[in-house]
Amino acid sequence: MGSSQKYKRLDIRNDIQELNRVVPFLDQLQEEWDLPVSVIPAINLALEEALSNIIFYGIDPGIEEEISIEFKAEGNCLNIILSDTGKAFDPTQNMEPDLDLPAEVRPIGGLGIFLIRKMMDEVSYERINGTNRLVMVKHWDNNK
C-alpha cells in the first residue's frame, strides 16, 4: 500500500437493519484497499457496537437521521469517523464492566462500548456544533 490517503464514505439511516449495508461495504473496502483480512472482524464488531448505540440510544425513535461513516486509510492505519446529530454521548467515558462477576449476577448489557475499546487501537470522541464525532483507529503490522 502506498503512502497516499484513501477515503470512502457510507451514510446510513438510523434504522438497525441498515447495519446490513455495513458488512458488504467493509468487505468491498477490504478488497479495494487491500486491507488485511484479519482486521475486518474487529472493525465490523466495533462499527456495529458504535452504530447500534447511536441508533438505539442516541436518536429518538420516530426521528429520521443520517449517520455518516467515513473511512480513511493511510499506510498501515485505518481511521473510521462516525458523525451523528443525536444526543451528546461520549462512549470513551463509559465505565468498564466487571468481567469477574459470576453468571447469576452478571448484568445483561454494558459490553458494547467495552468491545469497541478492545477491538480498536484508539477511540476518541468530540461534540462539535451539535454533532457527535467518534473516531476509531485500527493499526496493523506490515506482515499481514
Binding site: 447495519l19 447500534s52 464492566p97 469477574d100 453468571a103 447469576e104 445483561i108
Partner: protein, 109 residues
Amino acid sequence: MKITTQTKGNDIFVQVEGRIDTTNSIDFENTVSQALTNEVKQIYLDCSELNYISSSGLRVLLTFLKKMMAAGGTLKLYSLQPAIKEIFDISGFSTIFPIYPDLVAAQEN
C-alpha cells in the same frame, strides 16, 4: 443466520450458522425460546458454523444461561471458532459459560 433446534428428552441441541448480531439476535432468542419447555435442563449450542457475534448476541446467550441455571440446568457451548473464542475471552464470558471442544466432551462433563 440459520438456526436448527432438536429436542431429545430433557436436552435441546441448537446449531447456529453465520452471524448473531444486532439485526437478528431477537430471531435467535425467539427460535430457542420456542423450543424451551419446563422439562428442558440442558441446551447444547453447536458454534462450529458461528462466525460472528456482537454484544447483542452475547446478551441473548447470557439470558439463556441465566434461565437454564435458574432451572437447575445449563447452557453448554462447543466447537467455537478461534475468533469467537477470543470475543468470549475478552468479555469474560469464557469463565461463566461451560465451553467444550466438541459435543462428546460437552455431554460427558
